[in-house]
């Protein structure tokens, strides 16, 4: 094994990191080979390539590039596992599952709540306030989104979803305001107050859900957030099926993304926001109100994350259930950390996690329900691997989590 690595080294790629990255690519390749359109039917290929990946990983690891090496080892092992699994499934089913364009569309759908959560988190954490309450904010948004839409249905008709999104954002802001008071003024540990809000959100939405819709569930004819049909795009090869017919909230998330980038990195407000998150006392000494900036950021974070929740309930699944977010907010938080608190890398991370959810959703078709249950763990597993592989290196806003003591 090492001989191979050494030979590769001989060609001049001696840098361990290069080898490690090559290993990660090989790991992904091992899996991909077994999928359509190539759909290798023999397990030998993914196993062989996966082993190469692991070898490269071990070699890299031993050269003190531990993170990249570990990543390559993990990628190789996962590549072998999933590659072999894929060759075991029935080929026709696999063709149905791995329709790349459909997977692409599903990826965007699953990534959208994540990106709202992550962008919400970005504002909050860039200002120096940790937000582990994203999960609760999503859930709150999901409930009040559908509640608002149902409530407005009689008088707002098909525009009721607007009321839904609005009430979701409002509810998210209320929740976030509590977090802000607790974190900023009362100087409570931000992780604790965040978790308290998660439980509160879970309890309150569950309570109201049972109280209002407990016997029958949310009605089936909830006015949803409309899809945007772009007719001329729909026939385009590959991209047509992905973006030709996307939910409005998905398009809005792209706008949000670009807007966030400009706001945070190109405006005076953004500069102050980052200053407050990095060194609040320095910001204070030049006359910036640390508390005001933090309140604005935290409350905005609640509104944004809750809009992601509204998408989840009235844009995606069109119903509500107790605790329906299932850790989505935490994956969004992980994506934020994975993306180093920058909008576009964070978006990339949400796409990655969204892809794994899309895969987890479609794979049962190929393997039957029993295995499908196991695949549900995939997004969480991937997040865990990401946390282990990269996040340790990712350094956030220096003052995050520390209450600021005004004199």
């Amino acid at each position: 094994m090492n001989a191979v690595a050494a030979r590769l080294g001989g060609i001049g790629w001696t840098h361990p990191r290069t080898i490690g990255i090559l290993g990660i690519v090989l790991g992904a390749l091992a899996f991909w080979l077994a999928l359509p359109p190539l759909a290798s039917r023999t397990a030998a290929l993914p196993v062989a390539i996966g082993i190469l990946a692991v070898a490269a990983g071990i070699w890299t690891f031993s050269r003190d590039e531990r993170r990249v090496g570990g990543g390559a080892i993990a990628a190789g092992l996962l590549g072998i596992a999933f590659g072999v699994l894929a060759t075991r499934s029935s080929s026709t089913h696999l063709d149905e599952v791995v329709v790349w364009s459909a997977l692409g569309a599903a990826t965007l759908r699953y990534a959208t709540p994540l990106i709202y959560a992550a962008i919400g988190g970005l504002f909050c954490e860039r200002s120096g306030v940790i937000n582990v309450a994203l999960e609760g904010m999503l859930l709150t948004g999901a409930f009040f989104g559908i509640w608002g839409a149902i409530w407005a249905q009689s008088w707002a008709g098909s525009a009721a979803w607007l009321v839904g999104v609005g009430s979701a954002a409002l509810a998210g802001m209320v929740l976030a305001t509590v977090h802000a008071i607790w974190a900023i003024h009362l100087k409570v540990d931000q992780i604790i107050s965040g978790f308290a809000l998660n439980f509160l959100a879970l309890g309150i939405t569950g309570y109201l859900f049972i109280d209002k819709y407990g016997d029958t569930g949310t009605p089936g004819d909830v006015p949803g957030i409309p899809d945007v049909h772009i007719h001329f795009l729909q026939n385009w090869y590959f991209v047509g099926p992905i973006i030709g017919q996307l939910n409005l909230m998905i398009w809005l998330s792209f706008v949000l993304l670009v807007g966030t980038y400009i706001l945070v990195f190109r405006t005076p407000f953004g500069l102050r926001l980052r200053a407050v998150g990095e060194h609040p006392r320095a910001a204070d000494t030049v006359g910036i109100s640390v508390y005001k900036v933090r309140y604005v950021a935290v409350i905005a974070s609640g509104a944004i994350a809750a809009m992601g929740g509204a998408y989840l309930s009235i844009g995606f699944v069109h119903s509500f259930n107790e605790g329906m977010t299932n850790g989505t907010g935490f994956i969004g938080l992980a994506a934020l950390v994975f993306g180093k608190w920058r909008p576009f890398p964070t978006w990339g991370a949400t796409l990655l996690f969204g892809f794994s959810s899309a895969l987890a959703d479609r794979l049962p078709n190929a393997y039957g329900n029993q295995w499908g249950t196991l695949f549900q763990a995939l997004p969480y597993l991937l997040t865990l691997v990401a946390v282990a592989g990269v996040i340790g290196r990712s350094i956030g806003p220096a003052a995050a989590g520390r209450p600021y003591e005004k004199q």
Binding site: P268, V286, G287
Partner: protein
Amino acid sequence: MPEGALLELRGITKRFPGVLANDNVSFELRAGEVHALLGENGAGKSTLMNILYGLYTPDEGEIFLHGRPIDLGSTRAAIEHGIGMVHQHFMLIPVMTVAENIVLATEPRRAGVLMDYDAARRRVRELSERYGLLVDPDARIDRTSVGQQQRVEILKALYRGAEILILDEPTAVLTPQEAKELFEIIRSLTGQGKSIIFISHKLNEVLEVADRVTTLRRGVVVDTIDAEGATEEGLARMMVGREVLLRVDKKPSQPEGALLQVEHLSVVDDRGLEMVRDVSFEVRAGEILGVAGVDANGQSELIDAIAGLRHVSAGRIVVDGRDMTNADAKDTLDAGIGHIPEDRHRRGLVLPFSLTENLALHAYRHAPNSRRGLLNPRVMTARARKLLSEFDVRGGAPATPAFALSGGNQQKVVLAREIDGDPKVLIAAQPTRGLDVGAIEFVHRRLVEQRDAGRAVLLVSLELEEILSLSDRILVIYEGRIVGEFPPSATEEELGLAMTGGRAAA
């Protein structure tokens, strides 16, 4: 010198829980003068200036500008009144550029909402040329030197239109040569009509740069005098309230065999930069070896490597004949290294722990403090009681948490722990940082005692005075290399030159 008060503080009183930081302080600044505020650590200088800068609200007292009372409820108000402050610890955001730091909160805009980075750069360049403060607007703060950071801080104040500039211990982080440059800058600023409050506890600097000197002692103004005609001795007496020994008195050393040998040592820091490069020296029993140098020239990495806290990339460390290269911290401590870390809050103490627990921070794992993994609280407490009285720690019983002690007493606890471990080699990193004169004398005496008891003492300090008065031999470290060895009779200028990389005759 222009007459008439530009700024006046009258009867300022500020209390912190348990401390009267300023007691009825009155202070007057004339236009165009350099007014030094002198006082030892903890005298209340920074507190007074923070009040003037709107960061603290005074409990009593008034502030007058041009004879009119003003209300300084916030830093914004202070800035609007033309007051600027360079803090003792710089208020710069490390991950941002020089220009971003300077314009923060008064940013030039484009199209009403966007940052105008070009304008920001341009204005920084204009200012820096006008005052002769050269900086690169696009450099990230964490990649610039301390001297440059200080210039950025001064520019920050000037950018906001400061007419009155407060410099809080600006020379603490500078070499003697850099300090000289700063004095030039100060003179050119007063030449352009600015008035300056210069805070220091270093007498020679005050005499060199100031027009008048106000001395604070324990929150009370002792006197305001003209710098002309004042002497160091006179100022020292005002500052401390008694005669002070400017030199530690000690017998000449009688060094014996080497207890610590460092051979061709190289160490990299967390970012992968080589901070210690091919360093060799030895410390013998019965001597104090001083290592002088400007902050961040590899001292911390050197100490950490010797103490087993950082991986050594090349070279050898030998403690009393045993090779301890890359041993872990526990084994290194057990091999006879005692370590007074440079930051007692961050590294020296577990602040919420009781003094008993802090004093047992190394010894807890050895009998009789513990046996087979079970602690013996009674033994630990008895030991703590003994050490607290031996080292004259005031204000704490064995069960008192460490955060309840004053800085000097906290340092005594660290000292007690390290000395009680009976080390062969004692590393003292900035052992007197932030202490008052009484505590400094105590620490110095103890270090000399350890030397006389036949231990090898490695003293690393940024204070040249401390190095010169305690060391038997002096090494100068610059950019990770030892650039010279000096006898204790060397002058500050000689050392200062070597500290900035200028070759000196060794």
